[in-house]
C-alpha cells in the first residue's frame, strides 16, 4: 500500500477513535506476532464499501473486548448488549471511511455503502496478516486490524 494512503488511514482512524470513543491508537510499524493477539477471541468485523469513480472496501477487525470498551465509552454506560457492540463497530467503520472518502473524493461523486458488522467466533488475524492493505493499531485493549482493498 502506498505510504501516503497508509498515513491518511492511520491519521483518520485515530482521529475518529479519539474524538468519539476516547480511545488512543498507536499505529504499529511491524505486524504483531501471534503471541500478542492469540488470546483475543472472538472478533467483530465491521465492513463498508464505496463505489463511483473510486471503488474500494474496508474491513475493521476488533477483539470483542475492544469493541465492548468503545461501546461503553460511546454510550457512557457499562451495561451494553451485543447488538449495541455490533452497532458501534459498524458506526466506527462508517465514520472512519466516510471521513476518508471526504478527503479522497472532494467532488462527492462516490457513494458510501451501508456498514455491516458480525461476530466472528473462529476468526484469527492469521487469516488477514498477509493482506497488502493491512493497517494495525495498538489500542490498550488488543489490536485493531484494518484491511483496505482498492477496486
Amino acid at each position: 500500500m502506498d505510504a501516503k494512503i497508509r498515513q491518511m488511514i492511520n491519521k483518520t482512524v485515530a482521529e475518529v477513535f479519539e474524538t468519539m470513543f476516547f480511545t488512543f491508537l498507536t499505529p504499529l510499524a511491524a505486524r504483531p506476532n501471534e503471541e500478542e493477539w492469540g488470546h483475543d477471541r472472538p472478533y467483530i468485523r465491521a465492513s463498508i464499501g464505496y463505489s463511483g469513480p473510486l471503488v474500494g472496501e474496508f474491513h475493521f477487525y476488533f477483539p470483542r473486548r475492544l469493541a465492548r470498551e468503545l461501546t461503553v465509552n460511546f454510550l457512557s454506560t457499562e451495561a451494553v448488549e451485543d447488538r449495541q457492540i455490533l452497532d458501534t463497530a459498524a458506526e466506527v467503520a462508517n465514520m472512519a471511511v466516510g471521513s476518508l472518502l471526504g478527503k479522497w473524493d472532494s467532488e462527492g461523486e462516490c457513494a458510501l455503502g451501508i456498514p455491516v458488522s458480525a461476530m466472528l467466533e473462529d476468526f484469527t488475524p492469521a487469516e488477514i496478516v498477509s493482506e497488502s492493505g493491512l493497517c494495525v493499531f495498538n489500542t490498550g485493549s488488543g489490536c485493531l486490524w484494518v484491511v483496505y482493498r482498492e477496486g
Partner: protein
C-alpha cells in the same frame, strides 16, 4: 420553550449518543422521536409536531438527502429546521445539501460543543422566523378586513 426533536439515523447507538449530546448541551427538550431512515422520519412527521430534525445522510430505505427534499417540498414541514449529522463531508455533498435547504451540517466525528453551537444557532434562527411568519399571517388577516 421546549423542543420536540426527531433523530433519524440507522444506528441505534448513534441515536442514543446524539440524544445524550443534545441533553448535555442544555437544549430544552420536550420529547425525542427516533427514526431508522427517512421513510420512518416522514411517518413521524405526519403524526407528530416536530421542531427540529437531526438526520444522518447515509441510511437504508430512504437517505437523508431524499428526506431533506421531501421535507422542503411539503408545505406542512418546509419550515422545520433540518440538520445533517453525517460522515459525508465533501464540498459537493454540502453544496447539494445547501441547495435543497439544509439548516446546518455537523460532521462526524463531532465533539458535543459542535452540536451545541449549531443546534442553538439553528433553533434561534427558526424561532425568529416563526415570529416573523405569524406577524405576516396577522397582517394578511387584517388586510382581509
Amino acid at each position: 420553550m421546549a423542543f420536540n426533536i426527531l433523530i433519524a439515523d440507522d444506528s441505534t447507538t448513534m441515536r442514543a449518543v446524539v440524544k445524550k449530546t443534545v441533553e448535555m448541551a442544555g437544549v430544552p427538550v420536550n420529547e425525542f422521536y427516533e427514526a431508522a431512515n427517512g421513510r420512518e422520519a416522514l411517518d413521524i412527521l405526519a403524526d407528530s409536531w416536530i421542531d427540529v430534525i437531526l438526520s444522518d445522510i447515509n441510511m437504508p430505505v430512504m437517505g437523508g438527502m431524499e428526506l431533506l427534499r421531501a421535507v422542503r417540498s411539503n408545505k406542512d414541514y418546509m419550515n422545520i429546521p433540518l440538520v445533517f449529522i453525517t460522515t459525508e463531508s465533501s464540498e459537493a455533498r454540502m453544496s447539494e445539501a445547501k441547495k435543497y435547504g439544509v439548516s446546518g451540517y455537523i460532521k462526524k466525528p463531532f465533539v458535543p460543543e459542535t452540536i451545541k453551537s449549531i443546534l442553538y444557532e439553528v433553533l434561534e434562527k427558526a424561532y425568529d422566523s416563526k415570529i416573523d411568519a405569524s406577524h405576516a399571517s396577522e397582517r394578511e388577516e387584517n388586510m382581509d378586513f
